[in-house]
């Protein structure tokens, strides 16, 4: 045993955050070159849970890939499966009944609220406040129970099918969803008073962790990260898909570029999601949930197809290159967290380590989705 290590002035040392570290929320490793408490250089190292989802998409038939997509992001899985079914429907030219599209929009938005709620709890826990996580999980549990009663699973849903849904929603779900909206609005007010106004919380986030619009464009960051930097981009508005053009909702944008702006964007997004759910339940048409005519074997004509959707973390794109067989020739997933995480290296240079970890929390990283 040697004594304590003395670092000479001007000398740097390497610090490994992860791969097993509570702040990274998964198996992400960050190699940091530190000068005291300040970060000189950081490098994110990926690949610890790479599962080759893209290759699996090329080796399996189209319906067989369905369960894979929900394994990308375990917090907002429905958004990803929505992108996949929309892409294959576009490729194979399958018509979707209106009721199915409405139910998809409602469930995706519910899932987005659940995802943001968990992020909210985990983010505040990163900063040292444990209690809000418990409140957030209580509300999230309500959504998960509701979705479980319809989809059959709690996190890794496999609910959407090409052309429609696995099964229809019932009156119980509609009643529960309607009861959830006022409850959640009340909770959002509670979170606002408990967390957003808290002096310690504000002091740790205000003006800290700057991610400029320019940097977002450079790395292709989307979602709340870009909207917190003043970029008004939301796939639901800019490239409307599904039944989103029929809903009236706003895209929250903040210009402050700091961690607090990203926090505020997500809190406002929950309110907007509630508005979409409310309108979706009001407008929900009757009818079938699967099309009458559906090809038994899905074989899209040869071509190149792309579909982007707005998930809880940003713009998720899926590219399918078909050669006319029952397997895809190329199956490319563009995941939002990968781009959002890439800017961490540049953004955290010169920051103090605790501020950098707070900023990492505000990026809302879900590692299985980076290492897909």
């Amino acid at each position: 045993m040697s004594g304590p290590i003395h670092i000479q002035p001007g000398e740097t040392f390497t610090l490994n955050v992860g791969p097993q570290h509570p702040a990274t929320h998964g198996v992400l490793r960050v190699k940091m070159e530190m000068d005291g408490e300040y970060i000189v250089k950081a490098e994110t190292v990926l690949g610890y849970i790479h599962r080759m989802h893209e290759l699996m998409g090329e080796n399996r038939t189209y319906p067989q890939v369905l369960p894979n997509l929900s394994r990308l992001d375990y917090l907002g899985a429905l958004g990803y499966t929505h992108g996949h079914v929309l892409a294959v429907e576009r490729a194979a030219g399958i018509e979707v009944p209106e009721r199915a599209e409405y139910i998809r929009a409602i469930t995706v938005e519910l899932n987005r609220v659940a995802s943001h709620l968990f992020w909210f709890g985990a983010f505040v826990m990163d900063l040292g406040g444990f209690t809000p996580l418990m409140y957030a999980i209580e509300d999230r549990e309500y959504i998960l129970d509701m979705l479980e009663a319809v989809t059959g699973s709690r996190l890794t849903y496999c609910y959407y099918r090409f052309g429609g849904l696995y099964n229809d929603i019932d009156d119980e779900f509609i009643d529960r969803a309607r009861a959830f909206i006022p409850r959640m609005r009340k909770s959002l007010k509670k979170y606002d008073a408990l967390v957003t106004g808290n002096i310690i919380f504000r002091k740790r986030l205000e003006g800290i962790g700057p991610i400029s619009a320019e940097m977002c464009r450079k790395y292709g960051a989307t979602g709340p990260v870009a909207r917190g930097a003043g970029i008004n981009f939301d796939v639901r508005k800019n490239e409307p898909y599904s039944v989103y053009p029929e809903f009236d909702f706003d895209v929250p944008v903040y210009d402050e570029c700091d961690s607090l702006a990203r926090y505020k964007v997500r809190m406002d997004e929950m309110e907007q999601s509630l508005r979409i759910i409310e309108q979706g339940l009001d407008k929900l048409p009757d009818g079938p949930i699967m099309p009458k005519k559906k090809p038994k074997l899905i074989k899209p004509p040869a071509g190149d197809y792309y579909q982007a959707v707005e998930t809880a973390r940003g713009s998720f794109g899926i590219r399918i290159v078909s050669d006319g067989t029952k397997n895809a020739y190329r199956f490319k997933l563009r995941s939002p967290t990968y781009s959002n995480m890439s800017l961490f290296d540049e953004a955290c240079e010169g920051m103090m380590i605790m501020d950098a970890l707070a900023m990492m929390g505000s990026l809302d990283l879900v590692i299985p989705e980076i290492d897909r």
Binding site: T131, G152, C158, I199
Partner: protein, 156 residues
């Protein structure tokens, strides 16, 4: 100087607001369940591992067509069958016909992702989801289910 003190005052006020909210939560009803002593009833559509459905005679409805096996993304279903001759009365005449009878239906639950495509692909309604979720074991073999045996045990 004034701004300094007003910030301290507002900061303390925000902390007091937060404490007020957490204090109110003390008097709210408990939302959790003491799990091993109390369990929650699963919803009707809960997807556990698959289970064979029996017909009126207590035999499996399955006709061993193998659609579920083909639909499964991870290849966790394996089944075997044999053909059996049986006699039916068609227009007053006795005729012998062949049909397939299930002899083995194994599910390797370790690779199952509960996507439900086997249940969806079945044209005879012969498989369904069980409501079982209390599955925990340190041995892999405990998740290799012999569904035909499970059906027999259920009937006996």
């Amino acid at each position: 100087m004034g701004a300094y003190f007003s910030e301290i005052f507002r900061g303390l006020q925000s902390l007091a607001t937060g404490l007020g909210i957490t204090f109110k939560e003390f008097f709210k009803p408990v939302v959790t369940v003491p799990y091993p002593y109390e369990t929650i009833k699963m919803s009707d559509r809960f997807r556990g591992h698959i289970e064979l459905v029996e017909n009126e005679e207590g035999k499996p409805k399955c006709v061993a067509c193998g659609m579920c096996q083909r639909a499964c993304p991870s290849g966790c279903i394996s089944l075997a069958s044999k053909s059996v001759e049986y006699e039916v009365e068609v227009k007053g005449e006795m005729k012998t016909k062949k049909k397939k009878v299930l002899t083995k239906y194994n599910l390797n639950f370790t690779t199952c992702s509960l996507c439900g495509q086997c249940v969806e692909s079945c044209n005879f309604g012969a498989i369904t989801f069980s409501k079982e979720y209390n599955l925990a074991s340190s041995r892999k073999e405990d998740f290799h289910f012999d569904l035909l045996n499970r059906l027999k045990e259920r009937n006996s």
